[in-house]
Subunit: 268 residues, 4 copies
């Protein structure tokens, strides 16, 4: 029985090849994690164990996919940076984003089951993630992308920390807390935290305030040598010699330039 | 701290809206399932339990997503048909395919853990699926799509059944079996099965030969009434009245017209 | 000198293949024709000669491209319908739309120069057209597309006819005429035309009210035979026999079904 | 009469926004110019007047579209470079490429009619051009794109010059000339030209050998100042002060770096 008679249906398939020699960022995002966190009774404003699960899932992505040079995540999302010259799945967008969504979900479920055995996952509320790819033509855009995510993390965490203080410690209803915060600036929230609840926001764990960064760090990269001739061609030559890389975790500032200038290979 | 300074990076994001009023097929496909089936020691040529896991995952997709009207799968792949007027995720392709890939992986892992507890999944070999969406403008294309998949299932299963008979019962090496089958037609393989191993291919389980079909069946659909005026407008009117649907499993022929003519609402 | 060293830049090129077996509509649209019509002193509200130029350009498109089965235009725009199974430029969108834009501009300039020799075209104000392709999965969408354009023609023409009557015959400034028409319905405009200027809108030339239609008409198409079995398969068989086609011009109603039911091959 | 009932057909329209902050190259290409050049009896291997027409059309594009910073063309094609931060038509690909195709055709026809009055254009053989846009993420890619086109110009012109010498001066048929050139390298063709026809290829007009370049030249750009700090930020600051630009024509080498290093603003 020949299949050729029906095979014409393949001609309706489409591919999208992401622009070559451009940075690719793939962001996975939890589906319905507001309800998910209620269902599994997450600690508020941040559930340390759940964050460890998502962090471990992100790290595992980097372990299995050498093309990922950096990851940044907080709450229920993670962004992955692929090298400019990466040819993973021939840069086919559909393959890339569905594989990332699938792999991330698989790792998350795996680590949850392993690390939070007291809360078995229900069929009706399994962890799922959608994904999208964004292409950035130059290094400045890429840095700004990650700055955008970290500023977002900060804004959300300050809000959530204040909100849940008002509710859990201040005895407000969630509606009352919401109304209390309408129109408040960062300074106002810091003051509520400090005056009403004795919380110095600066002392809160950096993982909550700044999110989590994984980078493929080239431990023997000769930074000073690079700075003598900070061109891409020179960087490429240097990278051919240093290959000892480890995956490192940080909760540091990635908005300031110093994070990036110390690791020029992230933007290669 | 305003985020607006970096927010420009969002303007690099793209959406693709799938053509309205067209049938959407989303196919999920196991990643590296050849190695996966080796790793977990699948029975050859077909592992009934593994098929039950993937079938149950597919059925669960239909339970949670009412827009799926039909599913067809065999081996490590499944195709889902969405209604022509479906507006799931506003037909945004990225959302659709990454959600399908993620959900399918989540369900597969869940059912595997539950049904095959004797073979715990290893972090290094978790089940993962990629996904793609294809748009078909008319009913004929959609039927041909599913015919294409079922013919493919048949061709592969006949090959695999013969191949593994030669290996497991005939004592050939996999190389010898491969060489033995080069250039053989369907009739030849049927004859090898029958003469050498006493296997009548027709008697093999339909799930292996024809794959698995799930449909959202409208049990009280007045087919005879529809046939009096077999137009789309009439069909739509009839469908407004009959809403009692159940998800039914079949292992039947979907190549012949009768499967489709009996259920005109599948192609609405 | 080998070119291979730089040829990699071709890998950045993209193609978009329009969905097979779907109707393609390509609409060309005059660029800056408001100023264009001022510059060349068009008669208001309709310049018959300019319309003849654009009509002739559209007709010439059909003469040279047999894949165009129908065209509809008014004012400074024209829409072309390609057969569902058309394979012109392998359905590559960029080739299609840029060729249509280029050819239409070329014909327009050619016919203008020939027919309106008294108004030579200036380099600073040459006729130009952009173009876009839209894909429609079924016949109903296609009919509605052309209905949409004809309704639009009617609305604009009634407005313009009334507006220019107020200005040219009623002595209003353009601002006064604009204000006079704010909030008026069709009935109001008809009344202004009739009471103030003795114009019965119904008597205005159909080319202005309904636009211009070109169709590739199969003069020996056996309509009655088709109606005995109005299926696509039958239509295709009938079309194989009748091939005597002429390009016909109409200014008729294409909103009512009758236009389409008499020419089922337009939607094949 | 409301148009809303049919207006849903607009939802089938698609836009493609070209990636921000990336260089855009739009290449227009003559349609069927082989036949076109035969029909109008072009001089072989190069028709100076026809090249002047296409050059003038290209220059006119730059006059009317300030976003074009550079153009390169030879034979029947022209490539236009848009600034990285160009927002022409909000970077909508369809608008861009159809407008370029239309405008270029319009200008070509206009200048032909004006400059080659002895050969009036025939309706059946009007000059038409298709167009495509390609996006390049960085300056290196852009330079390589134009190098690719100039190398191509050289290869074609050397071939054509030799081919037509063999035919017009050597008395070969076109078939014979084609066969004579099979497998020949550049050195071989140079030798044929010199030995058989006394032609020193180096002495041929640069317009034929290197094509035509138009650039928007900033005549008071302080290059030496820029070289003190050759960063993009500095370049942008310098460009804010110098705005006196002229459109200049060249037939020079654009493969060597010097063309580009002298005009860093081309790649801004």
């Amino acid at each position: 029985m020949a299949n050729s008679r029906y095979e014409y249906v393949r001609s309706f398939e489409r591919e999208n090849i992401l622009l070559p020699q451009s940075h690719i960022v793939i962001r996975v995002d939890g589906r319905g994690f507001h309800k998910f966190s209620d269902h599994y009774d997450f600690e508020k404003p941040n559930d340390e164990k759940a964050l460890q699960v998502i962090n471990e899932a992100a790290k595992q992505m980097m372990v299995t996919m050498p093309d990922i040079i950096m990851a940044y995540g907080d709450s229920d999302e993670y962004s992955f940076l692929l090298r400019k010259d990466c040819d993973l799945f021939e840069r086919r967008e559909f393959k890339l984003i569905t594989t990332f969504a699938s792999a991330f979900s698989a790792y998350y479920q795996h680590f949850w089951t392993k690390w939070i055995p007291g809360k078995p996952l229900d069929l009706e509320r399994l962890p799922m993630f959608d994904a999208r790819a964004v292409v950035y033509p130059n290094a400045e855009n890429v840095m700004d992308y990650f700055r955008w995510r970290q500023v977002d993390c900060h804004i959300n965490n300050l809000y959530n920390t204040t909100f849940w203080s008002l509710v859990l410690k201040g005895g407000m209803t969630t509606n009352e807390a919401e109304n209390r915060l309408i129109g408040t600036l960062s300074a106002d929230k810091n003051e509520i935290l400090f005056k009403d609840f004795g919380i110095n926001y600066n002392n809160i764990h950096d993982m909550y305030k700044k999110g989590t960064i994984y980078i493929r760090e080239y431990t023997d990269f000769p930074l000073s040598k690079y700075l003598e001739d900070p061109t891409e061609a020179h960087l490429k030559r240097l990278m051919k010699r240093v290959k000892k890389s480890t995956i490192e975790q940080y909760h540091c500032d990635i908005i300031k330039d110093s994070f990036w200038t110390q690791r020029p290979y992230l933007l290669l």
